[in-house]
Every structure is written in structure tokens, then in C-alpha cells.
């Protein structure tokens, strides 16, 4: 490629024009949909359709300029947003205003995303060290049960949180022992962890609480009341979130800082990329992997604890319902990066929040919409965001000899 064609292709800030066009198309498409929703509530689909058509056009152009994935994604988004806009202009204003309450949607999104964020951070840390952790689901479930059990026993939410984290760490230690020391098949082993967690939590739960379930008065993680409800939009969304929601957001930054900006994080990544080389310079591969897996169990357990003593305020068997697996998808969509994983988790959280509010339209089809987060995961993993490359030694057992 000659310099002339290269400069012709490049737009502002040195980004290729086709990439800019693709993302611009996505923004246009979303704008088209947004016009028809509260607060603007444009009642005719015409401006939206014009915008969506422009988005599709830009997407196709971007596709022909070589942005295969982005171009397709933009064009499809354009079509979907046009359909959404038409649907919105045809449904009643009252229904729309009840479903699309942005501040409530944002708050619900954060609440649904929080368990995913904790578990996904665990997944990032574990997989960066080269150990795949399918057992996140089970570690979450363990955290959920032992947090409420601990809160009940110690009569305090902090004690409960600690008990849950320790339980998650212990289960992760089993995973670490099998997948690091015994060089087991990490996926099969992680799957076993899920069975074990399901059986163990169900067993103790039934033995201890019986058919009545967990009692009502178990201490809960408190909400953080911020005096910000006078701020339009953000105020009502953020003024009464659970403490653990904020902890999750802080941890995203902390894990990013740790993984990418500290010597220990560099060691972690080097073990995940090339354990042999890391060992040559004196890093203990086993130690790093053990610590990373245990940390991932503790993090996943915090996500579970949020579910039981921060969100739902009760425990029932298999209450995590696949959230640990969605978290795994979040790790992949987030390309093994904490901040990108947060973005992915928010996307899943939003789809869950939306599914939860749609019963306004019809109870029966709302049930069907429960499948939405899983469909979104499928589409995301199947590559709208492009193929992501895991750490080179991810899932490969390391032997010292």
C-alpha cells in the first residue's frame, strides 16, 4: 500500500475512514431508535427511517471498503433499529413511558451487571494466568449460599460476605489443585466444580433450612444513599445503589491497574502467555496460577454474595442460573480486559433489565424475553465483535519437567 492511498484511507486521528464510517453508522442507527423513545417520543417513523437508511448505507460502504465484521454489524444494527423505531411508534405512549424509564433502566442494568462484573473479573485474572475457569458458575453459587449462611450465623453482612468469599476461595483451591498440580483437563475439572457446588450448596441448604428456605431477617449488604437525586437523569439512577455495585466498579479499575500496570500483573500475564519463559526468569508458574485461580474464586463468590445478600435477599437452589457462564462469555467478548469486560457486562445487564420491564406489553411474551440475555451472549460470542485471542497458554497445563 503506497503512502498516498494510505493517507486517502485515513480520516481524523489516523483511524481508517471505513472504521469511522462503520461506528458512525452504529451511532446513527441507535439515534434513529432513540428518537422514538421517551423523552423525545417522535410519533412518526419517518425521521428514524431516514437515519436508519443512512446507517445501513454507511455500513454497506464500510463493508465494501473491507470492514467485513464492522460493516455487517452496522448494517444489521441499522435494520434492527428501524424495526424497533417502527414498533415504538406503533405502541402506546403510556406503555413506552412505563417501560423506558431511563434512570430505572440504568439502575437495573447496573444491578444485573454487578454479579457478572465480579465473576468476569475473576475469569480475567484466572485466564490471564493460563487457567480456564468454567467453574465460575459453581464458585458464584457457593459464594451466594455461604454469604447468606454466614450472614445468618455471624448476624452481620460483613461476616457473611467474608464467609462467602472464603468458601469461593476454597472451591477455587480445589480447581487450582486439579488443574495446576494434577494437570487435569481444565474444562472438565471446572465443570465438575459446578456439579460439586450445586450438590454441596443444595445439600447444606436443605439440611440447615429445610423446606422453609432462608429466614427473612438475615442482615443485608446496605445500599449507599447519595444526596444526588436532584441531578436530572443520573441522580435517580445512582442515588440508591447497593454498596457491592460500587465495589464492583472500583474493582474493575483495581484489576486493570493490577494486571496492566504492576510488576505482579506482568508476571501474571507472562505466565499466561509463555509459562516456560516465565519459569526461566525465576517466576513460579504454579504459585502464580494458584493465586490467580483462588483470586478468581473469591471474586466470583463476591458476585454470588451480591446476588443473595445484596439483591434478591434470599437463597434458592441453583439461584445463579447460568450467570457464571454468561460471565465467561463476558470475558471473551471483553477480550480478557477488565474495562472491556465491564462494557460487555453492562450490555448483558441492560438486556436483562429490559427483559424484566417488558411484561407491560404481554405477560406471555415476557417469559420468552427471559431468553434475551442468552441470545445476546450467543450473538456476541459468535463474533459480532470479532474473534478475540485468548492468552497463548490459556487452558494448557504446565509441567515443571
Amino acid at each position: 500500500v503506497s503512502t498516498a492511498t494510505l493517507t486517502r484511507r485515513l480520516g481524523p486521528a489516523g483511524v481508517e475512514r471505513s472504521v469511522l464510517a462503520g461506528w458512525g453508522a452504529v451511532v446513527l442507527a441507535l439515534l434513529a431508535f432513540w428518537l422514538t423513545l421517551p423523552p423525545l417520543l417522535v410519533r412518526t417513523p419517518v425521521p428514524s427511517l431516514v437515519l436508519a437508511a443512512a446507517a445501513v448505507g454507511l455500513g454497506v460502504w464500510s463493508l465494501r471498503e473491507g470492514q467485513k465484521r464492522l460493516g455487517w454489524a452496522a448494517a444489521v444494527t441499522g435494520v434492527l433499529c428501524a424495526i424497533g423505531a417502527i414498533a415504538a411508534t406503533r405502541s402506546g405512549v403510556g406503555n413506552l413511558e412505563r417501560v423506558v424509564v431511563w434512570s430505572a433502566l440504568i439502575a437495573a442494568m447496573l444491578r444485573f451487571a454487578t454479579p457478572l462484573v465480579f465473576a468476569a473479573l475473576g475469569g480475567v485474572v484466572s485466564e490471564r494466568s493460563g487457567v480456564v475457569n468454567i467453574g465460575l458458575e459453581g464458585m458464584m453459587l457457593t459464594g451466594a449460599f455461604f454469604a447468606i449462611y454466614g450472614a445468618d450465623l455471624t448476624d452481620g453482612w460483613f461476616g457473611g460476605l467474608l464467609v462467602g468469599m472464603v468458601a469461593g476461595g476454597v472451591l477455587a483451591l480445589v480447581h487450582a489443585f486439579f488443574s495446576v498440580s494434577l494437570r487435569a483437563d481444565q474444562i472438565v475439572c471446572g465443570f465438575a466444580i459446578n456439579f460439586l457446588a450445586l450438590g454441596t450448596t443444595g445439600y447444606i441448604f436443605l439440611q440447615h433450612y429445610g423446606e422453609n428456605g432462608t429466614p427473612d431477617g438475615v442482615p443485608q449488604v446496605p445500599d449507599v444513599s447519595l444526596p444526588i437525586d436532584w441531578i436530572p437523569f443520573f441522580g435517580p439512577a445512582l442515588d440508591k445503589l447497593n454498596l457491592l455495585v460500587w465495589v464492583a466498579l472500583v474493582l474493575v479499575f483495581a484489576v486493570w491497574l493490577f494486571v496492566f500496570r504492576t510488576p505482579a500483573g506482568l508476571r501474571l500475564r507472562s505466565v499466561g502467555e509463555n509459562p516456560r519463559a516465565a519459569a526461566t526468569v525465576g517466576i513460579s508458574v504454579y504459585k502464580v496460577r494458584y493465586l490467580a485461580v483462588i483470586a478468581s474464586g473469591v471474586l466470583a463468590a463476591m458476585g454470588g454474595a451480591f446476588l443473595s445478600i445484596g439483591f434478591v435477599h434470599t437463597f434458592n437452589q441453583n439461584m445463579t442460573a447460568g450467570r457464571g457462564f454468561i460471565a465467561l462469555a463476558v470475558v471473551i467478548v471483553g477480550k480478557w480486559r477488565p474495562v472491556a469486560a465491564l462494557a460487555a457486562a453492562l450490555m448483558f445487564g441492560f438486556s436483562q433489565a429490559l427483559a424484566q420491564r417488558l411484561p407491560v406489553f404481554s405477560d406471555s411474551s415476557a417469559t420468552l424475553l427471559q431468553a434475551l440475555p442468552y441470545v445476546v451472549t450467543l450473538i456476541a460470542v459468535a463474533g459480532l465483535v470479532g474473534r478475540s485471542t485468548p492468552p497463548a497458554a490459556d487452558g494448557v497445563p504446565y509441567s515443571k519437567e
Partner: protein
């Protein structure tokens, strides 16, 4: 076509000894034994007697029918119990095969449950409609369409893996949840396939399969849920599995890709296409299990059952069945029988609550299942304990693989 195992001159005896040398039959036996011993410890921790508990579970499974010395009265009860055990074994053979075939191609099919649901849903739909069709045709029609539905649901995961590289572990799990919610919606209140009967107005359940389309019972009383002919279809599937894997081009390609996808590609096998084909076959096995369950003994599906099976259904147990059975034909048969007996023996109906609380026993089954999968994930643990394989032979094998 069958030359993958080595020189054709290998005698049956030498192959058998090779199999045994690799811990072929002793490893699974020891694995199960260790898991049951640990399970016994869990029982003891609860304060119950592990020996009487296991005896009660064994008797509940009806396997004592095989003993010639039991009284005629016991034999009648045992026969009833054994019929139930075999009814439960039937789907496990199929779902075990669905997981085993994927494993042989290097894929981890966690989607057996979803594929099972696909078959079951289509089975109950066809079986409860089309009144007046001759029984044989009706059954055949339901079996074929249910199998196809399962194949499609499995094939999606294979196709996504082939075209976008999406990890089948994540996609199959997501597909499980998607079909679960589709079922809850379709058979729930206000859903398109909800029961037409006035009595079921507030009960989320499907229409029952018509008498004509139910599988014939050949052992026991059809009114008392005797053993239906599905078990023979399952035995036939075992033969199909063996032939497919060891005597067909498709099976050869599957094994080649499972052994080394890059080498297989180099040898002219299209890995992507093989993944799709393999997952189609796996889905067909699991889908067939679903139809046979619905035509054989369940006859109708309630949304509660769909949601409860979310993590403990036949599709999930199939994973443990395949792993314990080392993904071989005979292994799947025997481990399906083991798990069928275990589940039936720990069921609320069969386990004497005075010996051990049945609701705890269900979770005990999960724990044992988890332990078995965990131990299988690291074969080194069992073999190292009993020194079945000399360390050097193992190292050579790993170096060769």
C-alpha cells in the same frame, strides 16, 4: 476406513490388554469407588449410616432383582424399581452418547440438555396433536421430527464453531437456556402450546401425548409406568454409535479432527464441516432421548419440570456418563446404568426417609457425580494412587500425543 487404531494385525487380545494397560476398565471402577467412598463420608457427616444408606439406595434401584435369593415379595417390588431404573437409564444412554461423540471429535458438548429439550418439546407437540394417525406412523413421525429438532439445536453450536470459531462450551450452554425459556413460554399460561383442557386453565402444562402415540410397554403394567420399548432404541443407538465411530468415514474424520485438527486439515479433512456434522449427530442422539422420554413415560411436560431440569436433567448427567464411560460404547452403557440406578435409588419415591432424607439424597447424587467428573478430569490421581500405569509409559504417550 478403520485403520486409525494401528496395524490391522492387532489381535483382539492384544487390543484388550492395551486397553486394560491404559487403565481402561480399572480406572473408571476406581473412580466410581472413590466417589462413592467420599459420598459415604458426606452421609456420615450428616449423622446417617453410609452403609444402610447405600443399601437402601441399591434396593431402591431395583438391582437386587438380579439376586436369585430374594423373596418373591421383594422380587415384585424389585421388578417395579428396576423398570424405573431402566426407564431412567434409557435417556442417559442417549445423552451419554451425545457427549461422548463430541468428545471424540475434541468438542465438549454441554448442550445435551438443550438438545434433549428440543426433542422433547417437538415430541410432545407432535404426540399430542395429529389425532387419528395410526399409532406406528404417529410414533415414527414424532421420533423423526424430535431427532431432527435435537440435531438442529446441536448443529447450531457446531455451525457457529465452524464459521466463527465461537467456543462450543459457551454456545451450547447459552442454547440450553434459550430453549429452556422457549419451552417455559410455549407450554406456559397463554403460550401457543399450553394445554387445551379446561382443567389446566391455571396449570402451566402441555397437552398429553395421545394414547395411540405412546411407546408400547413390554415389561410391567402400562398403568404403573412399566418399561417401554425405548430401551431397545437406546441399545440400537449404542450399536449405531460404535459403527459410526469405528467403521464409517464420518467417524474416522471426527476422531482425526479430535486427535489433531491441524493434522486432519493437512490430511484433507475439513475440520469446520466435521464440527458441524459431529454436533448434528450429537444433537440427534440427545433429541431422540427427549422424544422417547415424552412418548415413553412423561406424556406431558410442565414448565416447572423444564425449569427444574435446568441444571440436573438427563443432558447434564450425560456428561458424567460419557466421562466415566471413557467415551466408549460399553462404557456409556454401564455408566448410564450406574447413574440411572443412583438417581432412581435416591428418588423421593424409592428411598426410605427413615434411612436417609431423599431430598438430601438428590444432592448427594450431584456430589457423587461432581466427584466422578473431577476425578476423571485428572486420570493421574487414580492411576498414581494405584500405579496402574508406569510413569514413563505415560510420559511417552503424552509426548506422542
Amino acid at each position: 476406513v478403520s485403520g486409525a487404531e494401528g496395524p490391522a494385525s492387532l489381535t483382539v487380545a492384544s487390543r484388550l490388554s492395551g486397553y486394560l494397560r491404559r487403565g481402561g476398565i480399572i480406572t473408571p471402577l476406581l473412580t466410581a469407588l472413590i466417589a462413592f467412598v467420599i459420598g459415604g463420608l458426606v452421609v456420615a457427616l450428616t449423622g446417617a449410616n453410609p452403609f444402610t444408606t447405600y443399601k437402601a439406595i441399591f434396593d431402591g434401584s431395583g438391582l437386587n432383582w438380579l439376586f436369585p435369593w430374594i423373596s418373591a415379595e421383594d422380587r415384585t417390588t424389585a421388578a417395579l424399581n428396576l423398570q424405573q431404573t431402566l426407564i431412567l437409564t434409557t435417556p442417559l444412554i442417549f445423552t451419554g452418547l451425545a457427549v461422548a461423540y463430541a468428545f471424540r471429535a475434541g468438542l465438549f458438548n454441554i448442550g445435551g440438555q438443550g438438545q434433549y429439550f428440543a426433542g422433547l418439546f417437538i415430541g410432545v407437540w407432535i404426540g399430542s396433536s395429529l389425532h387419528g394417525l395410526p399409532g406406528f406412523l404417529h410414533i415414527l413421525f414424532a421420533l423423526v421430527l424430535g431427532t431432527l429438532a435435537g440435531a438442529v439445536w446441536g448443529g447450531i453450536a457446531g455451525f457457529l464453531k465452524a464459521t466463527t470459531g465461537a467456543n462450543e462450551v459457551i454456545t451450547t450452554i447459552m442454547l440450553n437456556y434459550v430453549i429452556l425459556w422457549v419451552g417455559v413460554w410455549a407450554f406456559g399460561l397463554g403460550g401457543p402450546l399450553h394445554s387445551d383442557s379446561a382443567a389446566d386453565k391455571t396449570v402451566p402444562i402441555s397437552n398429553p401425548v395421545v394414547q395411540n402415540a405412546r411407546l408400547p410397554v413390554f415389561w410391567g403394567d402400562p398403568e404403573l409406568q412399566g418399561l417401554h420399548i425405548g430401551i431397545f432404541i437406546a441399545l440400537g443407538a449404542l450399536v449405531v454409535f460404535w459403527v459410526l465411530l469405528n467403521r464409517s468415514v464420518a467417524g474416522y474424520e471426527a476422531r482425526a479432527v479430535g486427535f489433531n485438527a491441524d493434522a486432519a486439515e493437512y490430511g484433507g479433512i475439513h475440520a469446520g464441516r466435521t464440527y458441524t456434522k459431529v454436533m448434528l449427530v450429537c444433537g440427534a442422539f440427545a433429541g431422540l432421548a427427549g422424544v422417547i422420554d415424552i412418548l415413553g413415560w412423561q406424556f406431558a411436560v410442565a414448565t416447572n419440570d423444564i425449569q427444574n431440569a435446568g441444571a440436573v436433567g438427563a443432558g447434564f448427567i450425560g456428561i458424567a456418563v460419557a466421562l466415566l464411560g471413557r467415551n466408549t460404547t460399553s462404557g456409556v452403557l454401564f455408566s448410564a446404568l450406574l447413574f440411572g440406578a443412583l438417581i432412581n435409588g435416591t428418588s423421593v419415591r424409592n428411598l426410605d426417609p427413615a434411612v436417609f432424607p431423599p431430598e438430601l439424597a438428590t444432592n448427594l447424587t450431584l456430589i457423587i457425580q461432581g466427584l466422578i467428573v473431577l476425578l476423571v478430569s485428572a486420570p493421574v490421581i487414580v492411576t498414581a494412587l494405584y500405579r496402574l500405569r508406569p510413569r514413563r509409559a505415560r510420559a511417552e504417550e503424552e509426548a506422542g500425543a
